[in-house]
């Protein structure tokens, strides 16, 4: 007995000790639905996955999936606030403040997107097991996306920090400072140049991933923002010259519930019923009807214009419903840039260069857009004669053709028309949005835009 007992006690004691001690494996637990950052981008397959993840940033509710598109319309005379969110109420009043959640959200998602592509640009060149062609395709798309993000930043905030690599430490990240608008545009041009050369082996068949055609179209749009009329014309003509794009047969085909591709698509952001956009839900009576069209926007359209019925359906005392984004589900792909936009860029850049030939061709481009929606064209020299008349017509056509697609605010600011269009709610300093106060708090070298 005593013997058994005396052997037993140490045995149990050993057990007690071993329970607490054999814990190495037990405490080293990893998630099953996330992976360590160390193995996230290490080969062709994981790099491809991270590239897809970079596109995913475009879907964000603060980006093409919602706020960036809707907010920039709500600021203007196209859209008014009909719902309950303060953020949209303030946008309607152009009441911009550095502590607005909406502005912070957009800033955040844009830099999140930049960080995702910066990781690719940093890590993919170091992967030895990847085909050169695959690496080029990944990097080319990454550069193009970075250019798109920075363009979306610079046109809204002006001078912004140029972060071109993932910060090594948070202390380093806190040292960011703003680069000038010119520097940002220089970087964008460089990124797009890189993208164009890296993607030269790709065709233009994809509608929801970056193609060489998208790079050219974005270059055209950016040239317009920089007043580089000749450059804009050249890029637009280069795109025309591919012969791969044409206006969709009808305006309605561009905004179907299924988001079906058309010959006019250059780049769309892909959405599904689970990764959805908020536009239809925000605009429709069946959704939350957060925002609606202004009477003024509604009145711009002739009811005979095909675009009228695609844009509007329903006028109630609480507001006008926009049905251009046809489902409250939001599973349809949205346009970032389409061929009609490029034709209007061409028209505007031609008109800006003046001269009868340019003005005449500009009017032809406007007429092509109008004809597609069943509207009679303008006759140059009769309906439109002066450069200003043509420019005004291009602008009006742009406003109508791209209504509610998120370009109007930036077009107003770019062309100096914001004060006239928006009226007393618009202060000149509001042409640039405020830097989020949460950024100023944690990055002491950042400065605020004037007026805030």
């Amino acid at each position: 007995m005593t013997m058994t007992r005396s052997r037993m006690a140490p045995a149990l004691l050993f057990l007690a000790v071993s329970l607490g001690a054999c814990d190495g494996d037990l405490l080293d637990v990893k998630p099953v639905d996330e992976i360590s950052e160390d193995i996230a981008i290490v080969d062709a397959r994981s790099a491809q996955a991270a590239l897809v993840g970079a596109y995913s940033a475009l879907q964000g509710g603060s980006y093409y999936g919602g706020a960036y598109v809707m907010w920039s319309e709500t600021l203007t005379d196209n859209v008014e606030h009909t719902g309950t969110f303060d953020s949209y109420a303030d946008a309607d009043l152009v009441f911009l403040r550095p502590d607005m959640g909406g502005i912070t959200g957009m800033w955040t998602v844009l830099y999140d997107g930049i960080n995702r592509v910066n990781l690719l640009i940093q890590k993919v060149p170091a992967i030895t097991s990847i085909d050169a062609a695959d690496a080029d395709a990944i990097l080319g798309q990454a550069y193009a996306l970075r250019a798109l993000h920075y363009f979306n930043l610079v046109r809204a905030w002006g001078d912004v920090p140029l972060v071109l690599a993932p910060p090594a430490t948070l202390d380093e990240a806190a040292l960011v400072s703003r680069s000038t608008t010119a520097q940002v545009y220089t970087q964008i041009a460089s990124d797009l140049g890189q993208a164009a050369s890296l993607l030269s082996g790709l065709d233009n068949s994809s509608r929801t991933f970056v193609t060489p055609g998208f790079v050219t179209a974005l270059q055209a749009r950016i040239a317009l923002y920089q007043g580089d009329w000749a450059g804009a014309v050249a890029r637009a003509r280069a795109l025309q010259a591919t012969g791969e794009y044409s206006l969709a047969g009808s305006y309605g085909q561009l905004f179907t519930a299924g988001g079906d591709p058309t010959s006019e698509d250059i780049f769309r952001v892909a959405f599904t019923a689970t990764d959805y956009n908020n536009l239809g839900y925000y605009y429709q009576y069946d959704g939350r009807f957060e925002i609606g069209a202004t009477q003024e926007a509604y009145d711009l359209f002739d009811p005979a214009d095909d675009r009228f019925a695609v844009n509007f359906n329903g006028v109630r005392s609480d507001g006008i419903q926009v049905v251009k984004f046809p489902t409250t589900i939001g599973g349809e792909d949205l346009h970032v840039i389409r061929y009609a936009d490029v034709l209007l860029i061409l028209a505007e850049a031609l008109a800006e260069q003046d001269g009868a030939a340019n003005l005449s061709e500009a009017v032809d481009q406007i007429n092509a857009i109008r004809a597609r929606s069943g509207m009679a064209g303008y006759v140059y020299g009769v309906d439109l004669t002066t450069q200003q008349e043509v420019l005004d017509a291009v602008f009006l056509e742009r406003r109508m053709e791209l209504a509610f697609e998120g370009e109007y605010w930036f077009d107003l600011v770019r062309t100096g028309r914001a004060a006239t269009a928006i009226g007393a709610n618009f202060d000149a300093h509001e042409a640039l949005w405020p830097i989020p106060v949460s950024e100023l708090d944690v990055a002491p070298n950042l400065t605020q835009n004037p007026g805030y």
Binding site: L19, V29, S36, A40, D112, A173
Partner: protein, 1031 residues
């Protein structure tokens, strides 16, 4: 559990059993017998529990008060007798082979049981030996709670424990705070340990149903509980180390006891307890009827210069039919049934004891469409395998079905819309369908057509073995498990106009969540007495592994209301499917030293390693020490017989909060799909230093018992400092992230607790008049002391932790932050608010406040809360009344955002808006001018809607009658009792909503979101009758 450990354990337990087995043969007859009588009257006490400490052996006295114990272990033993309402007695004696001893007890009625055994975690101590702050709640306090969950039953019963019901939904999650909030981002709920096994507390639900949540605690039937120990201070809770910061609730379930033998076998004891009754909403909010609504809105339009014709036009445009007057609350409320039946069989011999119970609890909700039921069973077995080896098993099994409804914090809720909808809108349209004429979806339609069914299957329990290796040394081993499966299904009908679902042809979702937890522990307990020195040491280790899994799918678009399972969906709109693991490995030890029964020293330490901690901080160490001076045992006290107990206690300890979330320290990429293509993107910034939150707490306690134990008094005072609180440290978004989780915050709780138990009137003989009282009160002050600041010399950055709740240094967590309302401008009837300068000083009044004018205007924390119970007994009757109270908390009546906004929203208004509002004809009105355009400022979120949440509540009145034994005998019962009970009978409060202790952020939301009533489900008033008998 990994197989290696499982095998090791089976082996160990087998070994333990084998080595002890031969000793059974050595046992010889050793008998103790005796009689237990009432010291005052000399009457026999039947049903008293006789037990031998630390052996699990015991019996109960028969109708003549007699008992007999056989096969008593040799050597020094402590024999104790306990019976409710009498002071526990114990006798130490030495048992020798072949000897029969007679031990009689005379028991005295008492207010406090000094010899009561208190569970302290891995051990029990007598009340006298406890030197930290531990409150016990006995089954008497929990008897027939007619309530789904035990945490709700604790309300007002344990000083230092604040219980917030959150809402009246049957089976909803309850908020429990032991000595205040001690975390900002991590969990604030205490650890629940049942019979030594830590169980799940979390909400496993994957459905979002507005404000309220579920809690795994409802899986434990309160009727099965014998006693609860609440480890309140850090010294008591430190034995649970990194899970002790929020207090520990140790639950001991009922077990079998030795029953008298009949024909050579011990006779089983049957107990049946059944009750049924009816509930109704304890309060209805007075709303406007159609005529009042129109009058009020007409005034709102008049002050905005509408002509009478324009007013009529507006009403016509709204489509008001003045002949309709719907009382929406009446439409969704109902009288609802409630019942509870429990059957228990228990008994045993000195070798084997058992308790088996089964119960069914069934509660309809007072709001249409809601109900909860639970079937539960328990088997508790105690087996004295040999003289030296005992084995115990405790197993619980339950099944719950909760038919939930969307209630608060949602605009598609039956309760919300019963308050918000206009009285002039009908329930039904002409074609008999649910009408959609009001501003919000039809609450009756929501309640009747939507379905939410949450089914839980739960089993937890443990098997333990104790080996007495040396007379003073015991080895204990335990293997425990907790398994939970929650299946949820929801259908949001497409047939209720104005809902999201009606726009997408129906929404249905189904989710399965599973949690499994296994525990193994082994520890040694040594108890030695050397003259005046008593030493007890416990040391051991434990391992807990937990894994959880969930899957979920949501589909939209259904062809008909009859085909509404996700399988019928046109499209999937959300899905999930994942699993995760969480493990804990620990060493723990405790030493207890008593000198001459006068000085008590307790020390403990625990070292926890957790899979949640960062690689740089894998292990935390949590020490504690506590002292007690038993003044009554000093020789100089021997001449004072006034006090039977006088003790002073002091303690200090350190505990942690491990509930910081899984994998938060790792740098991670997660799924980021695009179109139909899978992708990855960064999801978490690494922080290898991430660790537990730490609490340090001191406690001073004072216990007194005097006038022959007729007055018992316990006082505690404490200070609790929590640091390393997890907060999101903001980082520049240009890094791709906005924050990283870091241990930066601090918080303090200071307070005191008092409890007083008295025998006010003592019966002279059996059945005479007897009156006892228990009173407890708690005061706690919470303060946030440190938040993140980029500049360490500056105060931390405050932030909003709820819609109205602020987290700010120097303020209690969740302090209300909004405009301060100062009154009505007599000139124009506009609301006036405090106007602040940049430093927060008031510089005037304004009708147009900006966000900078927001300020701290109140606190959701009570200054005092507690309970007061009185019990009167006479001639077999027993009347108990329990009053529960809370003073000084404020409640944000957020319903007033829409129901007291001056007429900007069409929502129906609280009837009190009619009292004395400003109009040109009533320029001295005390309420702002109603305004159809909302231009008076009356609709700004302000302290105007903050109400005093103080209350007294008559929570329970129960009248019971014990049938005379000759009557009980006629149905063959040993005793029988009938009772009637009323719960929630009356609440005295100035609060204007359903109840002041509601919170529409539920129990598992951010701990700062407190005291906000946004259409919370009303509490029920319940009347029940019951019958209880034993055979």
């Amino acid at each position: 559990m990994d197989m290696k450990h499982l095998r090791l354990w089976s082996l160990a337990i087998g070994l333990v059993l084998l080595t002890g087995a031969p000793q059974a043969l050595a046992a010889q007859a050793r008998v103790i017998r005796g009689t237990v009588t009432d010291a005052q009257t000399g009457d026999p006490v039947s049903g008293a529990q006789i037990s031998i400490r630390d052996t699990g052996m015991g019996t109960i006295t028969n109708a003549q008060g007699r008992y007999e114990l056989t096969n008593v272990p040799e050597g020094r033993i402590e024999l104790r007798v306990t019976y409710l309402g009498y002071s526990t007695q114990s006798r130490t004696l030495t048992v020798t082979a072949g000897e029969a001893q007679v031990v009689d007890f005379q028991m005295a009625v008492t207010a406090i049981e000094l010899e009561e055994l208190v569970a302290t975690g891995y051990a029990q101590q007598t009340r006298r030996e406890v030197s930290s702050a531990i409150t016990t709640v006995s089954s008497v306090d929990l008897e027939n709670p007619v309530i789904a969950s035990l945490d709700a039953a604790l309300l007002g019963k344990a000083p230092g424990v604040q219980v917030i019901q959150n809402a009246g939904n049957p089976g909803n999650g309850i908020t429990v705070r032991v000595r205040g909030s001690s975390s900002i981002s991590a969990s604030n709920q205490p650890l629940y340990v049942v019979d030594g096994m830590p169980i799940f507390r979390e909400d496993f639900s994957q459905l979002s149903l507005g404000g309220q949540d579920l809690s795994a605690i409802t899986g434990l039937n309160p009727d099965e509980i014998a006693s609860i120990s609440v480890l309140k201070d850090a010294a008591a809770a430190a034995i649970y180390g990194s899970r002790g910061s929020n207090g520990v609730i140790l639950i001991t379930t009922k077990r079998g006891a030795i029953t008298a033998e009949q024909g050579g076998v011990s006779r089983p004891r049957f107990e049946i307890n059944t009750s049924f009754g009816q509930q109704e909403p304890s309060r209805v909010i007075q709303m406007l009827n159609t005529q009042e609504w129109m009058d009020y809105f007409a005034d709102a339009m008049r002050t905005d210069n509408y002509t009478e014709q324009e007013i009529q036009d507006e009403f016509d445009w709204l489509g008001i039919d003045p002949s309709i007057d719907t009382d929406w609350q009446d439409e969704v409320f109902r009288k609802a049934g409630i019942s509870n039946t429990q059957l228990t069989v228990s008994g045993g011999s000195s070798r084997f004891k058992y308790l088996m119970s089964g119960s069914f609890f069934d509660q309809e909700g007072v709001v249409l469409g809601s109900s909860y039921d639970r079937a539960s069973g328990r088997v508790n077995l105690d087996f004295q395998a040999t003289d030296r080896i005992s084995v115990a098993a405790s197993l619980a099994l339950s099944q719950e079905e909760n038919n939930r409804i969307e209630s608060d914090n949602s605009i598609e809720s039956a309760v919300t819309n019963a308050i918000a909808n206009e009285p002039w809108a009908p329930v039904f349209a002409d074609d008999g369908t649910y009408a959609g004429a009001a501003s919000y979806a039809n609450p009756v339609g929501i309640a009747m057509l939507n379905e939410v069914e949450a089914r839980t299957i739960r089993s937890f329990g443990n098997v333990s073995a104790t080996v007495v290796t040396l007379p003073w040394l015991r080895l204990n081993g335990r293997v425990g498990f907790d398994v939970l499966n929650l299946r949820e299904y929801e259908y949001q009908s497409s047939e209720v106009p104005l809902t999201y679902s009606s726009g997408v042809d129906g929404v249905a979702q189904i989710g399965n969540a599973q949690g499994r937890r296994y525990m193994m522990e082994a520890y040694l307990t040594a108890d030695r007495i050397f003259g005046d020195h008593e030493v007890s040491v416990t040391a051991g280790s434990s391992q807990e592994t937990e894994d959880r899994e969930r899957s979920f799918v949501r589909g939209e678009g259904y062809t008909s209301p009859d085909l509404h399972w996700p399988a019928n969906a046109a499209r999937v709109t959300d899905y999930d499917g994942t699993a995760w693991e969480h493990n804990l490995t620990s060493f723990f030890g405790r030493a207890n030293y008593t000198y001459a029964g006068r000085y008590v020293v307790n020390g403990s330490v625990r070292r926890d390693g957790s899979s949640r901690f960062g690689t740089d901080n894998k292990y935390g160490v949590f020490p504690a020490v506590s002292l007690a001076w038993v003044v009554t045992n000093e020789s100089f006290m021997s001449d004072f017989d006034l006090f039977t107990d006088l003790r002073i206690r002091g303690s200090w300890g350190k505990t942690g909060n491990e509930a910081i979330g899984d994998f938060r320290y790792l740098g991670l990429f997660s799924t980021a799909n695009y179109g139909e293509i899978p992708g990855t993107a960064p999801s978490n910034l690494p922080n290898p230093g991430l660790k537990w939150e730490t609490t340090k707490e001191w406690n001073l306690g004072f216990d007194a018992s005097f006038l022959q134990d007729r007055v018992g008094f316990v006082a505690e005072i404490y200070g609790k400092e929590t640091y390393d609180l997890l907060l999101n440290r903001p980082v520049t978004a240009t890094s791709g992230f906005t924050s990283v989780l870091a241990n930066v915050g601090g918080m303090e709780n200071r307070g005191w607790e008092l409890s007083l138990s008295t025998v006010n009137f003592k019966a002279a003989q059996t059945g005479g008049f007897e009156w006892t009282s228990n009173f407890s009160i708690t005061h706690n002050v919470n303060e946030v002391t440190k938040l993140y600041s980029s500049d360490p010399t500056q105060p931390g950055e405050p932030f909003m932790g709820g819609w109205y709740n602020r987290v700010e240094e120097g303020q209690p967590i969740g302090a209300f932050y909004m405009y301060r309302y100062v009154g009505v401008d007599p000139a124009n009837g506009n609301a006036l608010y405090a106007d602040l300068d940049a430093d927060g000083n008031q510089i005037g009044e304004t009708t147009d406040p900006s966000s900078e004018d927001r300020m701290i205007v109140g606190s959701p924390h009570p200054d005092y809360f507690g309970g007061f119970r009185n019990t009167v007994r006479m001639s077999g009757f027993e009347l108990t009344a329990f009053l529960e109270f809370s003073r000084g908390a404020e409640v944000m009546n957020a319903m007033r955002e829409f129901s007291d906004d001056g007429g900007y929203f069409y929502d129906n208004k609280f009837r009190d808006v009619l009292d004395d509002y400003w109009t040109p004809d009533n320029p001295t009105g005390t309420k702002p001018r109603p305004s159809y355009w909302g231009s008076t400022g009356a609709r700004y979120t302000s302290s105007r809607w903050l109400e005093d949440g103080s209350y007294y509540r008559l929570a329970d009145v129960t009248l019971g009658y014990n049938l005379p034994s000759e009557v009980a005998a006629r149905i063959g019962a040993a005793d029988a009792r009938i009772y009637v009970s009323g719960k929630n009978l009356k609440t005295w409060t100035d609060y204007s909503g359903y109840a002041p202790d509601l919170n529409s952020f539920g129990s598992s939301a951010g701990s700062a979101a407190l005291g906000t009533d946004f259409y919370a489900y009303p509490l029920a008033r319940t009347f029940t009758v019951g019958f209880k008998a034993t055979w």
